[in-house]
């Protein structure tokens, strides 16, 4: 059997398994499966900017949190049905990304990382202080749903949609080349006539919409949202770590990273009963990846096969 055919067969089998999974797993593991899907969505959306353009967004939690709050507010305060308010929440995330990206994507490197981090922290502070709208640190309460399965399918649907979008963007359009050109040599890309800024802004907005949608689904699933929960640094941290672990700028890397990292985190939590061990373990893992496999797990596998066009190449010389 040829390689693509084998890949399709395996992919189809995996999809089938994911679709019937809720009928096989007990409630507790369903929860972990849903979480894993959510992290995969967040990691893929982070990687869209961080991996493909090299702009490290250290404020990804801002989109997630704003998406969660927007969806909750539309549902609770405006009485909009959940499906509509979820889409509205995604729209708010996109607008936020546009407004944030317009000034911020002009600054580079470490400055961009710090600016996005500061922005996300400020958003969290605003959500805490603006009690009239958000309920402050007490949080907002959503109507609860007894059945958890819809959230699994919502997250799965969002992940598949995201991957489809990514597939069209990086495998079926010229934008992929633009983005990688931005990452490798931004000035050269500009000199060759690529509208660098438009390319960056487009993926940034897309990334914001996806993260906000994930936040919206999470809000309805978890039913009580607080600034501490939906704006926490861990959301950004995990998105970065999972992308890095699987492979920056690769298609499947962040999905793989999310599965490996989140499942091992849950395993550590189950065996030691605290998240402290996890913090240390994740730190050690990140350091090891940075030191020994900068292209991530997939990079390690890809090297054996032909080099993927968009896997990061070893640069000729550092600037």
């Amino acid at each position: 059997m040829s390689r693509p055919a084998l890949g399709r067969l395996l992919g189809g089998a995996a999809l089938l398994l994911l679709l019937i999974l809720p009928n096989l797993l007990p409630v507790f593991w369903m929860r972990i499966a849903t979480e894993t899907l959510m992290w995969a969505v967040l990691a893929v959306s982070w990687n869209l900017v961080g991996g493909y353009t090299g702009y490290l967004n250290f404020g990804h939690a801002a989109f997630f949190g704003v998406g969660a709050y927007a969806t909750a507010l539309f549902t609770v305060k405006a009485g909009v049905p959940f499906g509509v308010s979820l889409l509205l929440g995604g729209g708010v995330g996109g607008i936020l990304a546009l407004l944030l990206g317009l000034p911020t994507l002009r600054i580079r490197g470490a400055y961009f990382a710090i600016a996005t981090w500061a922005f996300a922290e400020a958003m969290g502070q605003i959500a805490t202080i603006w009690e009239g709208l958000t309920g402050g640190s007490e949080g907002l309460r959503m109507p609860a749903l007894a059945d958890n399965r819809p959230f699994y399918y919502l997250m799965l649907g969002l992940l598949l949609l995201t991957l489809l979008g990514l597939h069209l963007l990086v495998r079926r359009s010229k934008y992929a080349y633009w983005l990688v050109a931005v990452r490798e040599q931004e000035d050269v890309a500009k000199a060759m006539g690529i509208d660098v800024f438009r390319a960056k802004l487009m993926v940034f907005v897309l990334s914001g919409i996806i993260a906000a949608l994930a936040g919206g689904i999470y809000a309805y699933w978890i039913t009580i949202i607080t600034p501490k929960e939906v704006f926490k640094v861990l959301i950004t941290d995990n998105s970065v770590v999972m992308s890095l672990f699987g492979g920056l700028g690769t298609f499947w890397g962040p999905v793989l990273g999310a599965a490996v990292v989140h499942l091992s985190a849950r395993f550590l939590w189950l065996s030691y009963g605290s998240d402290v061990v996890y913090i240390v373990a994740i730190g050690v893992a990140v350091c090891l990846v940075a030191l020994f496999i900068p292209n991530g797990l997939l990079g390690l596998l890809e090297r054996r096969r032909k080099g993927s066009a968009f896997a990061p190449q070893e640069p000729e010389a550092s600037r």
């Binding site: 490290l56 600016a115 500061a118 400020a122 941290d237 913090i279 240390v280 730190g283 350091c287």
Partner: protein, 291 residues
């Protein structure tokens, strides 16, 4: 009026400590072009080291600062080659990996401290907190005065090292042009080790000062990382005189917000100002920072 003068004084006194916290980081960026995401964790670890040392020796916290400095200088000196390995030379994502490695390090330190010390608040006991001086109608707490003086002295010593010694000259050569410095016989690797060691040592000493003034726990790192980034960015990354101005400025902002608004707004104000400055003038308020 008196309240205004009092908060001005308080702000300046805290500013003296913030200078020590940020000098090393700014220098490390100037020389190595690396933003240290673990800066808050080095500070926290410095405070805990002083807690253990004062507990064992029954000394004043101020007296253990030389030990803390030497200890953390060593840690930084020997950690730096790893940083060099990921960010220097011909590696994929060279510019991102420095951030990533220090981020991983910060997680290790924070998690390790949580395992060792739990989530409780600690403070460094000092006889200085019993002392209070008066300047006309203004109150000058002894601990704040002493840490300010110590911070100021440390800053002068640091600037002396950098601008009046041959090591300092070599550090500045590497900061200005790494290739030319290498061609002129400067051992760039050694200078990098030294600079990162100085940064970690100074940050840990700042942690001891902070521990004498405020309570701390393993999770305070993020807050002080914010302060450091604020000072280093506003001053212009890599531009040391800017650090002094920006640190005193942050001390004042903090103290005025507490006095006239609400302490809850401190972080919001700091994050908002930091963000606006980065967008409007990434090279700092004085526009003297490095690109």
């Amino acid at each position: 009026m008196i309240q205004f003068l009092q908060s001005t004084l308080d702000g300046l006194l805290i500013g003296g400590v913030l200078i020590v916290l940020s000098l090393g980081m700014s220098l490390a960026f100037g020389v190595m072009r690396i933003v240290d995401f673990a800066v808050g964790e080095w500070l926290m670890l410095g405070a805990f080291a002083a807690l253990l040392l004062t507990g064992g020796l029954h000394w004043e916290p101020l007296l253990v600062t030389p030990i803390v400095f030497v200890l953390f200088f060593g840690l930084g000196y020997f950690f730096q080659p790893l940083l060099e390995r990921v960010s220097g030379g011909k590696r994929a994502h060279a510019n991102l990996m420095g951030l990533v490695l220090t981020f991983g390090l910060s997680q290790i330190i924070r998690g390790g401290a949580l395992m060792g010390f739990g989530r409780d608040n600690h403070s460094l006991k000092t006889g200085l907190s019993d002392l209070t001086y008066f300047l006309g109608p203004l109150i000058v707490p002894g601990a704040k005065l002493v840490t300010f003086i110590a911070g100021f002295a440390l800053t002068l010593a640091f600037l002396y090292l950098l601008y009046r010694t041959s090591v300092g000259l070599r550090i500045r050569m590497v900061a200005q042009d790494k290739t030319s410095a290498t061609l002129l016989g400067v051992e760039t690797g050694r200078i990098n080790n030294l600079v990162y060691g100085l940064h970690v040592g100074l940050t840990a000493v700042a942690g001891v000062f902070i521990g004498m003034l405020f309570t701390f726990n393993p999770e305070v790192g993020a807050r002080y990382a914010l302060y450091t980034f604020f000072v280093v960015v506003l001053g212009g990354m890599g531009y040391l005189p800017g650090v002094i101005v920006a640190a005193l400025g942050l001390g004042l902002v903090q103290s005025y917000v507490t006095a006239y608004l609400d302490p809850r707004y401190i972080s919001l104000a700091a994050f908002a100002i930091l963000y606006l400055v980065l967008v409007i003038s990434p090279r700092g308020l004085l526009r003297r920072g490095l690109e």
